[in-house]
């Protein structure tokens, strides 16, 4: 069992999108053996709708940046961008945008 946990840690080291391990090769009890693994947890994949910024309409007022509950608006020089790793697609940014520069599109998966 502990052998397979070691194997799991080895796999974790390079783990991004490879197929998830089966029950024989994960630590028992849902235990996580490496600290700080929450950093690898990208909640953006919960998203059903994706905000798209129209850079020509954005006036960089940053209302979206203030309202975003997940701090997923990224400030740029002349307009805003979205951090899709953590944006859950709630649509508040699109609703609040005074210039209608953000539209919500259904995620295609």
């Amino acid at each position: 069992m502990w052998q397979s946990q070691k194997e799991h840690m080895k796999r974790c080291a390079g783990l991004s999108d490879i197929r998830k391990p089966g029950w024989r090769s994960i630590p028992i009890g849902g235990m996580l053996l490496e600290p700080g693994s929450a950093l690898k947890y990208k909640t953006g994949d919960w998203r059903a709708f994706r905000p798209i910024v129209d850079e020509t309409k954005c006036v960089n007022c940053l209302l979206c940046w203030i309202y975003c509950p997940d701090s997923s608006i990224v400030r740029k020089e002349k307009f805003v961008a979205i951090n899709y790793d953590y944006c859950k697609g709630c649509g508040i940014c699109a609703a609040e945008c005074p210039t209608k520069a953000i539209r919500m599109e259904e995620e295609k998966r």
Binding site: M1, W2, Q5, K20, G22, W23, I28, G30, M31
Partner: protein, 392 residues
Amino acid sequence: MTRTMGLTGDEAIAYAAKQSNVDVVAAYPITPQTIIVEAFSEYVFDGEVHSEFVCVESEHSATSACIGASLTGARVFTATSSQGLALMHEMLYIASGLRCPIVMGVANRALSAPINIHGDHSDMMGSRDCGWLQIYAENAQEAYDWTIQAFKIAEDDNVLLPVSVNIDGFIISHSMEGIQVQEDKETLEFLSTRKPALTIDPDKPVTVGALCFTDYYFEVKRQQVEALDNSFKVIRKVNQEYKALTNRSYDTLETYGVEDAEAAIICLGSTAGTAKAVAKKLRDDGKKVGVIKLWVYRPFPTKEILETVKNLKALAVLDRACSFGAPYGALCSDVLSVLHGAGKELKVFNGVFGLGGRDITPTDIESVFNEALETAKTGVVKEPVKFIGVRE
């Protein structure tokens, strides 16, 4: 060196926990288990054992404290009954899910309402799917022996699951028996100290109890199924080692006269004692009856049961708990599914008895045997579920 001590079932469990050199006990008193906690607290007060005794405000907290302690690598013990076990229910799943090898003494008692303090199996049967190993002892001796073995089974790397050792409330918990105990030293040598493979340790940080959604939860549960399957081998190994120490044999089940029997009773706990005494009397009269007593109820010893019943024609399954709305009592449902799965042609009926501590008498048992023999002869089950000892 073996000595004989006069101990009640509760005291026998407390004594076994004391000899097992438990590191942490977190428990809350409840009748008929109270003596276990009470006796253990006296061992702590008298300095006979160096356990951390945590007085908690409820059974929910008791199990929570036990889980935390167990994760640090400590050997952990608790005890409860009835409403206490019901209050623990949520934490029972967490103890097994986080793979904490806690050992818990349970003096089985009826569940409210109406309020009742006497023995039946409603409490543990209500938690039968909680992922714990569940052992039923027939008497104080077995309670003592199984409690010690339970630590070794639970803490094995291939198991790492909590174990409950059950005794019938009052019938066993409060009856004094002369039981054979070994020296503290011998028990300790048998058990040694717990060697946890993985613990919470500030130098090697791990996360326990992290979120497992649709992507991992199922795998973690599958591991628990595997651990319960693995436990059969471990139970056998520990039974053999314990026999070498004490010369007392244990297994997943015990049989009496089943080899040449036509009809048998299968049951848990103290009822098996009465059943064996009645079976002996009937066998002396030339009636071919036998008794199967399950020591280990979870994991369910499927193979052993099939091997045991192979020559039988009829089987009476006695349940000391009611599964409301279910076609049969819990034990009977398990037995029937095992028989059906193996394509076994065996006539089975279910007797629900002893709720709220109502006695089951030798006369009751004798009539069950007679009905089982009649069923064996005719091949007809007259009444699939009968309620034994209830007033009409």
